[in-house]
Amino acid sequence: MSVDLDFGVVLARWPELVWGTLGTIGLALGGMALALVIGVLGVAVRRSGNAFGRAVVIAFVELIRNTPFLVQIFFIFFALPLAGIRLNPTVTAILALGLNGGAYAIEIIRGGVESIPRGQTEAGLALGLHPGEVFRLIILKPALRAVFPSLASQFVMLTLTTSIATSIAAYELTSVARRIDGDTFQSFEVYFLITGIYLMVAWLMMVLFAGVARLAFAYPTR
């Protein structure tokens, strides 16, 4: 049995692979930024004492976490035009990634916030800080610090999830690979190669998060 591998025709398309990789990184960073905003807002609403807001956040989290991302992205892709909103597939993908990642971020950040002792909040209020300042400086920042490893691994997962955006033809690496596959029929070679690229991108994200942790959370705690 002989196996013929020909990476040449695939590697010849390197400019597209580079752009695809940048597309993937862009989708991931955009999705993460949106997920972080949704995560913090969701936790704030859940803690606000508003029963309706709380119920909406809980329903959103359960709905997202118990259905596949592929179904979510299809749903959003078809729902937006019906709502009169026209977005290109790449922006739609960022929106879907942000909503999906946001649901997980809410759960993770909530865990961190609940781990902050009540006395810390009371001390902040006693020092004359605004409730908003107390949430931002005394609850949120140490909470994010506490859950940062979980949040980081969730965001690496989000980075890998961007590959599913190929289903709505967003501009990213897997879509590029499928086009090259269609042109060259070197299916195994192209998918094997980009799997390696994803591994490197995931590793890059971990390095990035380690850097963020050192910059943002390097203050002494005692």
């Binding site: 709905l63 118990n66 299916s187």
Partner: protein, 218 residues
């Protein structure tokens, strides 16, 4: 021309897709259990090459998208001249994927069992097999249950990616019906509700066990 509507035929087609989703998840999870146990034991073994091999296997599957794992297995078998049906290629890929994730979950659980247990078993003269089977693994199993159930939910959702490879499971059947009846929101709403009906009870069950375990911590 008559516009097709969402009738009993279409619903039946979606339910057939649901059956394939359940079959894929069952094979992936069922196959993932023995292989995952092997990965977990290798990952916690004394021999360094076993530990490193298992670490590499886990890093490979946790650092790449499941979709690409499906593609590589799918075309990999064809490349090596193995003619296997698409569902089998997908099932094998899901099994390999599950073995890495379950292996990492159970690695954590094995290491979370207090070291004194292993030392006591050593002192009693138990050999490796008995030490693992009778002392460590039963305790690790209990600890790992919430994360294991969480992964089952993840795997159930992950089977949807077989749709992109062209395999007709729940999501792909929804796509096909949606294209023929032009009611994407209704159809994907039904498909999403079916996944939710499968996953949500599992998630609730896992959460309940997790809270019970948290209470039991000494």
């Amino acid at each position: 021309m008559e516009t097709p509507t969402l009738g009993p035929d279409e619903l039946l087609f979606i339910l057939k897709g649901l059956m394939w989703t359940l079959i894929l998840a069952a094979i992936g999870f069922g196959g993932g259990i023995p292989f995952g146990l092997g990965v977990a034991l290798a990952r916690t073994a004394e021999r360094r090459w076993l530990r490193w091999t298992a670490t590499g296997w886990i890093a490979l599957f946790q650092g790449t998208p499941l979709l690409l794992q499906l593609f590589v297995f799918f075309y990999g078998f064809a490349l090596f001249g193995l003619r296997i049906p698409p569902w089998a290629a997908v099932a094998i890929a899901l099994t390999a994927h599950a073995s890495a994730f379950l292996g990492e979950i159970w690695r954590g659980a094995i290491q979370a069992v207090s070291k004194g247990q292993t030392e006591a078993a050593h002192a009693l003269g138990l050999h490796y097999g008995s030490r693992m089977r009778d002392i460590v693994l039963p305790q690790a199993f209990r600890l790992s249950l919430p994360a294991t159930i969480g992964f089952l939910v993840q795997l159930l959702k992950g089977t949807s990616l077989a749709a992109i490879v062209g395999f007709i499971e729940l999501t792909r059947s929804g796509q096909i019906v949606s294209n023929s009846v032009f009611r994407p929101l209704l159809v994907f709403g039904i498909v999403g509700a079916l996944y939710f009906a499968l996953c949500w009870p599992l998630s609730l069950w896992g959460g309940r066990i997790e809270r019970r375990l948290a209470l039991g911590v000494r």
